[in-house]
Symmetry: D3
Subunit: 65 residues, 6 copies
Amino acid sequence: MPLVTVKMFKGRSKEQKKALVQEVTRAVCETVNVTPEDVIVVIEEMEKENYAIAGKTFDEPQQER
Amino acid sequence: MPLVTVKMFKGRSKEQKKALVQEVTRAVCETVNVTPEDVIVVIEEMEKENYAIAGKTFDEPQQER
Amino acid sequence: MPLVTVKMFKGRSKEQKKALVQEVTRAVCETVNVTPEDVIVVIEEMEKENYAIAGKTFDEPQQER
Amino acid sequence: MPLVTVKMFKGRSKEQKKALVQEVTRAVCETVNVTPEDVIVVIEEMEKENYAIAGKTFDEPQQER
Amino acid sequence: MPLVTVKMFKGRSKEQKKALVQEVTRAVCETVNVTPEDVIVVIEEMEKENYAIAGKTFDEPQQER
Amino acid sequence: MPLVTVKMFKGRSKEQKKALVQEVTRAVCETVNVTPEDVIVVIEEMEKENYAIAGKTFDEPQQER
């Protein structure tokens, strides 16, 4: 029954998101001893202007990462 | 001061959401002894492609539930 | 598949928490048209010193609510 | 490495959001002794119909605050 | 800059948790095209009495999964 | 009605936490035009073994930051 939430920037394709939930589910099952049916993964997509490190949002051009 | 968050799929009407927050607030008040003014409810709406069980997202047709 | 999180102060008994999850689950089912098996409820318990309104934590005696 | 999440209603400008993350980052650094590079701020924007106090959502006209 | 949160029951060893964060980080990097330094993983541990499906908490003996 | 959550490592004093919520509340009010009574701040405290960057938890000695 692990509940996994992945917050990340918008822009990934459906295929990438399918691969993401599949691989994260596998990683959880292999390491903490649960079955896939017990694992829930929720993706939350953010705008770059809504995420900041060191007080700077990611929609500013000088920002890297 | 309970803070309740309900994540669910998009697609409910405003009337359903009003009923949801009303009934959830009532359920909390009746069981943990707070007044309605103390209860905050936040609804977060998800796309089906952003929610997975057993490594499969809910926008896949074979998926049931 | 609604995921419900209830953050509240520590101190409720197991019986209160059982009643809480039961009644919240019922409230969600009745209003947004899902079955109980689809509803997950997580309780997160807080210390009073970790919750503030208007910049004041709830472990201060003058605080009411 | 404090992770700060701010949920608030939609409608703020990019400038307001930039000021928000900057000032919140400063507030965290000054009070819990971390450097700005350690502070992450995420903004989550809500619709008024998805937020309720006392069982009433904020898109209802009689609601104040 | 994906932020991953894993909520699961208490009781895993430090070794299991180290493996978990390592494998989840790898899964995220491989599928959504980020570098490990961009991935943050937070583990949140729950008591069984604070998690419910179908209105029943997991500290009840009849519960399976 | 901004809801602010600050996740950080355990170990801050009550005085630091009081200062934190006070200053964060002020920062929010000044930048997004709300009154202090509208701002809720929740602090969530983490163990170092439950937080990882680049797949490494913070209880490992070689880790800096």
